[in-house]
């Protein structure tokens, strides 16, 4: 089990959901200057192949529908990092009518990176922290989604039509 956690924490495949302006900080993080692949973190194209979902920036209601769908397709254990102040309290869109304010009401979040925008150093710091949390067995937000599924669905249904947007079996 220890070995399992160790290896899991060192081979995170990441899907960055480029919702907002945060996406511009990721190319330098991925490429040779900051080089996140030395920590075993690699960008991945689809949610079904990835462990880590990065919500980079503000989420409009329209995007949230797609994020929830992507999140539900990810295999467990899955981790979510909220990126920038927009995912914490709406950031500069705090009184906007179409941007959600608290990401954790709709999907569970393991870790937040503060800042508008966070620098690549901060992103790498968050990855290291997440790695530590996984190794200790603390990154369990995905269990919360399964246990409190009704609660999350209730919150989601307040902003959009869940029935219409759920993955059909």
């Amino acid at each position: 089990m220890k070995l399992f956690k160790f290896s899991q924490s060192r081979s995170l495949w990441m899907m960055h959901f480029c919702t907002g302006c945060g996406a511009v900080e990721l190319p330098p993080t991925m490429t040779s200057r900051f080089d996140m692949e030395r920590f075993g973190i690699m960008p991945m194209a689809t949610p079904r192949q990835s462990d880590l979902l990065l919500i980079t920036g503000y989420l409009t209601i329209k995007t949230l529908k797609r994020v929830v769908r992507a999140y539900e397709q990810m295999p467990t254990p899955r981790y979510v990092i909220g990126f920038g102040s927009c995912t914490i309290n709406g950031g500069m869109y705090w009184d906007s009518y179409n941007v959600i304010k608290k990401l954790e009401l709709y999907i569970p979040v393991d870790l937040y990176i503060n800042g508008c925008m966070p620098r690549p150093e901060a992103i790498i710091d968050a990855f290291l922290k997440l790695r530590e949390m996984i190794a200790k067995g603390e990154a369990n937000a995905w269990k919360k989604y399964i246990e409190n599924y009704e609660w999350y669905k209730k919150n989601q249904s307040e902003v959009f039509d869940v029935e219409k947007w759920s993955v059909k079996k």
Binding site: I61, W94, D95, Y97, I100, K102, L105, Y112, F160
Partner: protein, 178 residues
């Protein structure tokens, strides 16, 4: 005579007393016109060299009970902007569509219909555009209370207090101690 003055003179001689033309600054001419004169002015300016329909915007003058529609045109050959402004009553009046003159107006009119609720007569597709499943009054109107809407919709009880005060333990969803 500068290019702007020529354009001003031409519009004034063509449309006479009905419109009010003034040169706001270099490269910018503003035309205030009644509702029924907008399409003739657009058609006239298009054949005079204003081939680019840059933008159609709307301003909500709620105290006057009016919407101001501003058609922005630009000419590459003269390097001049022309703004054609007209005012319509907020809830009772409609506006004839401009897509027969400038096809570019199609999406702008859809957007303004969605954001302000202005009805463009003759527009073939005034349905859902940028917003999905929007209910209630259009969001860009001045009588739309954004903060109240946010507090009701996004689960925030008091906007300024809840989002900007620091708590000892951040709230982490159900089943946590925070």
């Amino acid at each position: 005579m500068t290019q702007e003055e020529k354009i001003k003179k031409d519009i004034e001689t063509t449309f006479g007393e009905l419109v009010n033309v003034n040169i706001q600054r270099e490269k910018r001419v503003r035309v205030n016109a009644p509702k029924n004169m907008v399409l003739p002015i657009l058609a006239y300016l298009k054949q005079r060299g204003f081939h680019q329909f840059t933008l159609l915007t709307c301003v909500d003058w709620i105290n006057d009970g009016e919407f101001e529609l501003v058609y922005n045109l630009y000419s590459l050959s003269y390097n001049v902007h022309v703004l054609i402004s007209t005012r319509i009553k907020r809830d009772t009046e409609t506006m004839p569509t401009a897509i027969n003159v400038y096809e570019m107006a199609f999406d702008y009119e859809r957007e303004i219909h969605e954001m302000f609720g202005v009805v463009f007569e003759g527009h073939p597709r005034l349905d859902e555009f940028l917003l999905e499943d929007w209910k209630g009054i259009p969001p860009m109107r001045k009588d739309f209370d954004t903060r109240k809407y946010v507090e009701e919709k996004f689960g925030v009880k008091d906007l300024t207090k809840e989002l900007f005060t620091r708590k000892e333990q951040p709230y982490r969803g159900p089943g946590s101690n925070g």
